[in-house]
């Protein structure tokens, strides 16, 4: 699908593993940024998040990884409630771009990584 920053994203569903995965959420990510990303994602399952936004840890196990600079994001639907998992995953991806990347630290990252004109960010 074509989505944030006019880029295409692959979403892989594996019925056998009950998983949904974005193989590349963000490319060319340096290690400190990845650490912040992990913290952000973990925060979405925290009790501090309002209930209707929280990703229920009893329903979904989230893991992310950094390989060759690419962050991937994996959701395991523990109870096979794929509708719930998909909805939460899409919302999380949306928040990665509209909340996580909005932090002033990643402005230059967005310009360089997504090949953006500074007037078009």
């Amino acid at each position: 699908m074509q989505w944030h920053k006019n880029r295409f994203y692959d979403l892989v569903f594996d019925a056998a593993k009950h998983s949904l995965r974005f193989p590349v959420v963000l490319p060319k990510v340096p290690r400190p940024m990845y650490e912040a990303f992990k913290e952000f994602v973990a925060g979405r399952q925290s009790e501090e998040v309002v209930a209707h936004r929280r990703i229920d840890p009893s329903k979904v196990r989230i893991s992310c990884s950094l390989k060759n600079g690419n962050i991937s994001l994996l959701f395991i639907a523990k109870d096979r409630d794929y509708e719930y998992a998909t909805q939460k995953l899409i919302n999380l991806m949306h928040e990665v771009f509209l909340v996580f990347l909005q932090d002033g630290l990643y402005y230059e990252y967005m310009i360089e990584t997504f090949n953006l004109d500074r007037d078009q960010i």
């Binding site: 919302n91 949306h94 509209l98 909340v99 002033g104 630290l105 230059e108």
Partner: protein, 641 residues
């Protein structure tokens, strides 16, 4: 001898020589000839005091320009901003009694007309001469178009008899030049149709989605005299050439909308500029309060729902993503779904005056063609009362989170300021905020505007709009750098006259925050402000560069193109234009300068430019956290939609 140069000194004739001498080496004092003081010409108040005189068909009759001016007066054209040129038309409009202002460049006057309209919702006009004056307005016509401002763009355009001959000077085809940046345009070629095309103009300005209308006047149209109205086509009054009728939603559509609102747990209204322009803020407030619907405003002007209201989401950034129903009302510049901070799951209702735009950019569950005020009238009276305690609590918690983030950034900025002896933009923004909303000044009083890149991003989030027409996003949508000062002088003229929502604050000072890059475009309009005694405080963030200087990263031979001389003194330039100047380098100096400037503006109608000395590197997050954090849209500081 120690006399600091200031506008007061310049304006006081007896002190003129001494004030000027303060710029000179001491040794030359005795030999220096007196330098003339800056004065407002005595002809100016006399001219402003002249009684209006609308032309008649009696005697010598009326020129085409006077007939057009009569129509403008009948239509309550709120103000004209111009530079000389298009003489017949601007003289006629001024004579007819439309408040008129003359400034230093047509582009700035166009921005001023836009600013006057942005804080009142009224139709305003700008004018320039033939080709050069007209083309000088282009950037700001485009900005007005993006902001959907009901702006009447006027320009003379040589004579029809000289078409294609390049006779003398200034020949240019105007109408093709404004293609894509106007709602309607016409080069008038028949004097007998001047009233008819004036009616065309106001039909477009006052109905449907607003936008600029561009009329150009060849001399044959402006100067031809008429002694008999029967010689004019379609010469009848406004109640016959246009209608005040608006498309109204059906009861069934409103019931559908109310049903969706009632079923939603966390509904939010995005109150666009259509709500402001239709002056529907009272109905909006009643509807929101009855059903505890959150509200966030959007558009070039803020305040049609107060930021300090418990249901306001303008600072509740995190809560936006929780909304399960978004109701757009009068959102004229429509964002895409990846631009506004709403969940992909949120359902959408869009209420819009015309059908053609509904569904563009943003898929809808329910589209309603209808006037904003008409829809809100019904919603306010029909929507049932409902309590949404959890949603209201979430809004409050989210607002507190945003405020804490901004305070954290301010604390970082304070450290950076102390370490560099320059003022960080977060500190500048907070000091302006504290002056306007935390001290003795009524938090609803001061109209503010903000422009520039770094300036806009840091300051926008600290400015508040607690009543209609209180805050202007000068760069809204089009992103023009530079019109800020001129736009806010236009807004100030509206406050000075107490037009529309500005009536309770008539005569209050206004404040604009802009950049060193931006001020260069319209700084000379400080002369215009001084001339008309319009009190404005211009806070100029001086970081010695274009905000986009990091675009030269990796291109070392380009960097010079992004830089200015360092430590330029915009305060001194302001003094030379008849305003006050203040130079500040620390937060304490800024605080004192702001207070002093506001008091002088309020008591003496004297404008001040405060030069806030900064560093361009403050936007580099790796050295000076937080760096550039883009504003959350919609909400306080938003400027794209």
């Amino acid at each position: 001898m120690s006399i600091k140069p200031s506008r007061r000194n310049f304006l006081r004739p007896v002190a003129a020589g001494a004030a000027a001498a303060a710029f000179l080496p001491q040794a030359k004092l005795s030999a220096a000839p007196p330098i003339l003081s800056i004065t407002i010409p005595k002809d100016l108040p006399t001219s402003l005091g002249e009684n209006p005189k609308v032309g008649t068909f009696e005697g010598r009759g009326m020129t085409g320009a006077e007939i057009f001016a009569k129509l403008c007066k009948d239509e309550d054209l709120a103000a004209l901003f111009c530079c000389p040129g298009n003489y017949t038309v601007i003289n006629a409009i001024a004579a007819a009694g439309v408040p008129a202002y003359g400034g230093r460049s047509e582009g700035s006057m166009c921005a001023a007309a836009d600013g006057f309209s942005r804080v009142t919702g009224e139709v305003t006009a700008c004018s320039g001469t033939e080709g050069p004056g007209f083309t000088n307005m282009i950037m700001n016509i485009a900005a007005a178009n993006a902001a959907r401002t009901p702006l009447l763009v006027l320009a003379s355009n040589m004579e029809l008899a000289g078409d294609d001959r390049e006779k003398f000077i200034q020949t240019g085809y105007q109408q093709p030049t404004t293609t894509g940046m106007k709602k309607y345009g016409k080069r008038m070629i028949d004097a007998s149709r001047v009233w008819e095309y004036g009616a065309y103009a106001f039909r477009n300005l006052k109905t449907g989605i607003p936008g600029p209308v561009h009329l150009d006047f060849p001399t044959e149209v402006a100067r031809t005299r008429f002694t008999d109205s029967a010689k004019l086509t379609d010469y009848y009054t406004k109640d016959k050439y246009r209608t005040e009728s608006r498309a109204q939603p059906t009861r069934k559509e409103v019931e559908q909308a109310m049903d969706m609102i009632n079923k939603a747990e966390r509904p939010i209204i995005v109150a666009g500029q259509g709500v402001f322009q239709r002056k529907a803020w009272d109905q909006l407030k009643v509807a929101a309060e009855k059903n505890e619907i959150a509200v966030v405003t959007s558009g070039p002007t803020s305040g049609h729902f107060p930021d300090d209201h418990r249901l306001s989401a303008s600072l509740a950034h995190d809560a936006l993503m929780s909304a399960d129903l978004v109701v757009f009302i009068g959102q004229y510049a429509m964002p895409g779904r990846t631009e506004y901070h709403f969940s992909p799951d949120a359902k959408t209702i869009r209420v819009h005056p015309v059908a053609e735009d509904i569904g563009r950019n943003w898929p809808i569950e329910l589209g309603i063609v209808g006037d904003e005020k008409g829809f809100l009238d019904i919603l306010a009276s029909e929507i049932p009362r409902k309590k949404r305690d959890a949603w209201v609590a979430e809004l409050a918690a989210s607002k507190a989170k945003t405020e804490k983030r901004d305070l954290d950034h301010y604390e970082l900025g304070l450290k950076h300021s102390a370490a560099t002896n320059r003022i960080h933009p977060a500190v500048m923004a907070k000091e302006v905020h504290d002056l306007l909303y935390k001290g003795d000044i009524d938090p609803k009083q001061t109209v503010t505007g903000v422009g520039g890149w770094t300036t806009g991003i840091f300051t926008g989030r600290w400015l508040r709009a607690n009543r209609p027409g209180q805050s202007v996003a000068c760069v809204y949508q089009y992103g023009a750098i530079g019109p800020d000062m001129a736009m806010m002088i236009g807004a100030s003229a509206a406050v000075q006259r107490g037009i529309g929502p500005q009536a309770p604050y008539k005569g209050a000072p206004t404040l604009v925050v802009t950049s060193d890059a931006g001020i260069a475009y319209s700084m000379f309009e400080l002369d215009t402000a001084a001339k008309y005694k319009i009190p404005i405080i211009a806070v100029v963030y001086n970081n010695n560069s274009w905000g986009m200087f990091p675009a030269a990263n990796g291109s070392p031979r380009s960097l010079h193109m992004y830089l200015f001389q360092e430590n330029l003194r915009y305060d001194k330039m302001a003094e030379g234009l008849g305003a006050r100047g203040e130079y500040v380098q620390t937060p304490e100096e800024l605080r004192a300068a702001l207070k002093r400037s506001y008091q002088i503006a309020a008591k003496e109608n004297i404008s001040t430019l405060i030069n806030v000395q900064a560093l361009k590197e403050f936007t580099d997050g790796s050295k000076f956290a937080p760096g550039i954090a883009l504003p959350v849209e919609p909400g306080a500081g938003a400027f794209a939609h």
